[in-house]
Subunit: 752 residues, 2 copies
């Protein structure tokens, strides 16, 4: 799956993504969690680390790993897992492969035909291109499909539903269009893909086709492959449609590792498998269908870049669609490589990237995977030269991420107790590219991240990656972000392997990557190849090296810090912002509802509409009650106080230890408390209608997918007008924050 | 030329266009400028007026007038002028045709060929369509061209410049692209068309091609003709590129009527004729050129709806273009029909619409013209039945509007002294369509207009046109507009025949039309036909009748009012808003400049740019000084006081006269003062670099064209960083407003 920010525009990126920047800080400053002396030692280590990174390795390994299909269950994936394990072993890691048996449906039959008003048999296939060496490799290759679509054989009229998100169906209702019994045609974008069939099925549609409109992903963006990086006429985006916002991982074994003997749902019982057939298609295949649609013209913002007038239907375009899958259990191979810590062997810093792709997977995931491998190789070299991390470092290469974070989720579920007991942090990477540093993660790590950016040089400009990102934020005029002492890291939704660690287990997590200047368009297609990546991704692999420097620093600092490097002022500050947002959300919704109901009562919607067109005015909406946010306000105020006290006390203690040496007993007791701090933010019963998601601060949106919802119990309660849920989660989040404050007060006591 | 608002989106429309709405007002309220008794008489008259309007006449006359080409100088235009004059005469008007000799170039040669990297000879022609009866009428028809293009034979590489406005060239500069010696390809939209070659020539380009991108004007908007109303692949928008923001009318005779013996510039001397060749083309013809362009990909907002990646060039697309024109003087025929007033024969209410089109002109201008004719017919009937207007009514049918408001401008210039002495108001209409009332004009007439809307019924919904427009404003959430007592009328820029009256002579003016639900796409093409209009414009001509009811009321009320119905509180209120806007503009520009210079100094623009692409960082900008707006603030404060006093005193006097009868002596003295009030807002020396434009409150933008600039001397001074001009015009506008206040204080004295 993608690093999200590669596909974001500048404006969105600076809101969501992030960096490392303290205006007053120089590279000589003492690192958070380190004394002055241990900072010096750490920086020496990092200099040696940087010196040994070699871009040629990244290139060679990507070529090696992307020469065959790499999806879970493929011979190529198995070979890659074994090869990766072999490398780890050769670098001195204690390495094993953990195997799970996961449900991974593969297509047995795929047929889509436009049967009226004209006939057109869809290609459902990508062409061989001379300029792309692996595009001719067909052995073991999966054709375009959406994993966890239902089987089905249906024929019906088509309705164009734009991005297929809930708001789009409201627009259709205004025009008197009902999708019950219809096949909906949705375009990629606007939400994570799995939302589209989920909402469509919820509204009564019987199947979903998802296509890549050239406006979002094709010639509108830039020159298409192989002239440029963008999606060509017959490129198709594969991808999972598992209902991951409910729970990710193996659909048959929620909450437990999918070991051979695990208790399993049947396929029919699993709640995360789509209830209707879904298939992705190219814009070449979508065009005849869209051309054949009549009915109202689509709203302006729904229109893409195909040379036609976008109509909504229903019909006269009529599609016959037949899909059937092999519903087999498949082995997934997670590679686990351990370097035992010298002082805190039972405190684990986990560093991961997946290695399975949809086809060859050069950009996604191998561009991140090879950076992780190079990072591990050099860490192995450092260990060979006598150095040892204080904490245990666990390098992981996940299988089966693409169908729904299966490799990481099953492993995290399987090792739940040990992880909650031992894991200090999880550091994730995924695809990587040329451009700007982007970091998302736990805000207890925001300051920590802000100390890394100034130490990594941007390969193209020579300034630090922090300096370059800061320029971008300044130019894009996100003055609030630029004015903060620490530039913000974005809260995490979902879309890569941090989800089970952060949102299920409550382990502080980071997701790190570079991008923004590499062209998109190969995503989840056969053209995500070595040829494509080395022309348009990161041709020199310099940004792969920059990623190794960045994620390597994060790993090494977390592993070597005297005290786990969390700072709670940043956390409190971000939570305060989220609370302000949800209060504003309720307020805006209240005002909007009053206005809406007034317009309904006055008949203004009808009068403003064109009488020659079907128009169904909206109903009145339930008024928005005034809600009591005081418990959250109080909890955050307490948290701010406790955080300020802890951060200050820690700083003075570290200064003291810089003179007198670290007090191991105090450090041990502190580290014990800090290791479990993120878990205090979780709730055992989880979120409404999705108990698997336990984090009270961060979750992917139930109706949006990857996109994050902060304070999700409250925010989604407001959005869905579930006022009782809002009331409950105001208390639950306040309780979680109070637990964090308890921990901080305990820590302050330890600091004396 | 178009009524502007037909082509505006909803959001823009409600900001710009307008209506009639007083929340507390009922149709029985006393009319502004009338006593209770004279209001009753007036409403009786209007009831008789409405009863005689007949939609069938509009239909018959449109068919009659649009059966042949109607451009100035064509046999059809001459025949139409004579036929219109004949109608006026038959209805009892004292009718004449005023003839002027104007420069109207017509094409002698038009050739455009893409000569590299492939060859393509552009069609430059529109097809015959079976569904459109007149599309086969070729006799006397002008092919697509831009009037007042220079002659020329050039060959050069092409640069795509988006809308071709000044900001677009700044984007090109950032990418290191220079248009000197190039042919620029611009798309229609974003400004009035004449701005495009003007800016291109200013930047050193040697020719301009202007095409209609399907995103703005084609299949992206809706189904294309003849399936739907929108522009088809080979439809071309003709139009003038005279530098009208400098002065409109005959390019050879600025400021004086183009009589046979007028002193004339030579063609070479005229400053309003374009200095480079220009030609409009279809998107069918533009596509091969755009496909052949390479160089940087165009910014996202520059990309249209053609199925290709928009590149900027320059080249390798190379175009050879040859155009030559007949630079002939042509007679223009203005039809003038007078109904003499009984009490104030020397106070004129002028009502006009042009009758020349680019080809058949069914929508533009005949849909408005036939409504004016029906209005005049019934006014004639009323006169025949014994009624007489108090003031003289002058119906006018203008020739030669399309090439640059020539008919109206020459007439207004020719009759300058008499008009400034006698004209009370000018009421303009142009093309008309189905939908919502839109009114622009002098804000001294804002309350007056707000008393008309409630009295005209919307043909489709049965509520008043005010009620319907109010619903639209509410739904579009322009809460500020909806909250005012009087819904706003928009200030006038240019684009139709009100310009010489309002902005050159200082005559209070209105521009009235319906639209927003009729599909665009035939504008200035051969498909602006009877067939197109009766399918997609106003098939029943009900909105033509509504226009006659609206403009007819405006005419009859202005002609019959005891006191000229101006209200100055509305004027003061709007001017206050404009002052706030220009102060804010200076403030925003100051903040932006500080920020911009900081980014330049820090090198942030360079760091944020992709190093693999050419990027030329912008220069520092001159800081924005603090400007003294106090003279304007003081003048507006005085105006508000004087206006409040006058409006109040008038109301109480009218109430008194309702009992005792009108005091003719007082009324005469008042009317004398009021007749010249708008002229007090003008400045003899005009605006900077364009002395023809004299109004200090309203002008079309020098660099934007039709779009209005309120307080233009100050606003454009700020935009162009001409601080001395700002300082001068703060004083000049204040002086103009003081003259209005003087007049109001005089009027208050008269009222006693």
């Amino acid at each position: 799956m993608p690093r999200v920010h590669v596909r974001l525009s500048l404006a969105v990126l600076t809101g969501v993504a992030t960096l490392a920047f303290t205006p007053t800080q120089s590279a000589d400053d003492t690192l958070l969690g380190f004394t002055a002396e241990s900072t010096r030692v750490q920086r020496d280590l990092e200099a040696r680390f940087d010196a040994q990174l070699d871009a040629d390795n990244l290139r060679d390994w990507m070529r090696q790993l992307s020469r065959h299909p790499t999806h879970v269950g493929s011979p190529g994936a198995k070979a890659n897992a074994e090869w990766i394990a072999e490398q780890f072993r050769s670098w001195g890691f204690d390495t094993r492969i953990d195997e799970y048996q996961v449900l991974f449906p593969t297509p047995r039959e795929r047929m889509v035909e436009l049967v009226a008003p004209t006939r057109y048999m869809l290609r459902l296939a990508e062409p061989v291109l001379e300029a792309d060496a692996t595009s001719g490799v067909t052995q073991d290759r999966l054709p375009p499909y959406n994993a966890y679509s239902a089987d089905g054989d249906v024929e019906a009229e088509v309705v164009y539903v734009n991005y297929g998100i809930p708001g789009d169906y409201e627009e259709l209702e205004r025009r008197g269009i009902d999708v019950r019994g219809k096949i909906v045609l949705a375009r990629y974008g606007g939400s994570w893909r799995g939302i589209k069939p989920k909402v469509a099925a919820d509204r009564g549609a019987i199947a979903t086709l998802i296509y890549s409109d050239p406006r979002d992903d094709g010639y509108f963006q830039g020159d298409v492959y192989p002239d440029g990086p963008y999606r060509m006429e017959h490129g198709v985006q594969r991808g999972s449609v598992e209902d991951m916002p409910q729970y990710p991982g193996d659909p048959l074994t929620p909450g437990v590792g999918a070991t051979a003997d695990a208790e399993r749902y049947t396929v029919e019982e699993s709640p995360t498998i789509m209830k209707i057939p879904v298939l992705p298609i190219s814009y070449g295949d979508a065009k005849p269908i869209l051309e054949a649609l009549e009915g109202p013209v689509a709203p302006a913002s729904w229109r893409g870049a195909l040379p036609l007038t976008y109509h909504l239907g229903p019909g006269p375009a009529r599609v016959h669609m037949r899909v059937a899958f092999n519903w087999d259990l498949t082995p997934a191979y997670d590679v686990i490589a351990v370097l035992r810590g010298s002082e805190y062997p039972d405190q684990w810093v986990i560093r991961g990237n997946h290695f399975d792709g949809w086809v060859f997977g050069a950009g996604d995931p191998l561009s991140g995977m090879v950076a992780l491998l190079e990072e591990a190789r050099v860490v192995g070299e450092l260990a060979r030269s006598g150095w040892r991390p204080k904490r245990t470092i666990v390098y992981t290469a996940w299988d089966a991420e693409e169908p729904g974070l299966l490799g990481s989720t099953e492993w995290a579920e399987h090792h739940r107790d040990e992880l909650q007991d031992k894991a200090v942090a999880y550091i994730n990477t995924d695809g990587n590219g040329r451009g700007f540093l982007g970091v998302g993660g736990s805000h207890t790590l925001e300051r920590f991240v802000n100390q890394i950016g100034p130490d990594v040089q941007d390969p193209q400009t020579g300034v630090s990656v922090r300096e370059r990102l800061r320029a971008r934020i300044l130019v894009s005029d996100d003055s609030e972000a630029a004015a903060r002492t620490d530039l913000p890291i974005s809260p995490l939704g979902s879309g890569s392997d941090y989800t089970p660690f952060l949102q299920h287990l409550g382990i502080a997590s980071l997701n790190i990557g570079y991008g923004g200047e590499n062209g998109g368009g190969s995503y989840h297609s056969i053209f995500d190849s070595f040829d494509h990546y080395t022309r348009f991704g990161d041709p020199t692999f310099e940004y792969g090296v920059a990623l190794a420097e960045t994620a390597g620093r994060a790993t090494l600092r977390l592993a070597n810090a005297d005290v786990i490097p969390l700072r709670f002022g940043n956390f409190a500050d971000n939570v305060r912002t989220y609370l302000n947002e949800v209060e504003q959300l309720a307020e805006t919704m209240r005002t909007e509802t009053v206005r809406h109901n007034r317009l309904v009562d006055e008949g203004a919607f009808v009068l403003a509409a064109d009488p020659t067109k079907t128009y169904v005015p909206p109903d009145r909406k339930e008024p928005v009650p005034y809600l009591n946010f005081a418990p959250l306000q109080n909890a955050i105020t307490r948290l701010e106080g406790a955080a300020a006290q802890y951060d200050e006390r820690l700083a003075s203690t570290m200064g003291h230890w810089g003179q007198s040496g670290v007090d191991r007993d105090v450090a041990d007791r502190l580290n014990d408390i800090l290791q479990g701090m993120e878990q205090r933010m979780t709730r055992r019963e989880g979120l409404p209608r999705r108990p698997w998601f336990r984090h009270m601060i961060y979750a992917p949106g139930f109706w949006t997918g990857y996109g994050v919802k902060t304070l999700p119990g409250v925010r989604e309660g407001i959005e869905e007008r579930e006022w009782e849920e809002v009331r409950l989660f105001v208390r639950e989040i306040a309780a979680a924050l109070d637990r964090v404050s308890d921990g901080l007060e305990e820590a302050v006591e330890v600091l004396g």
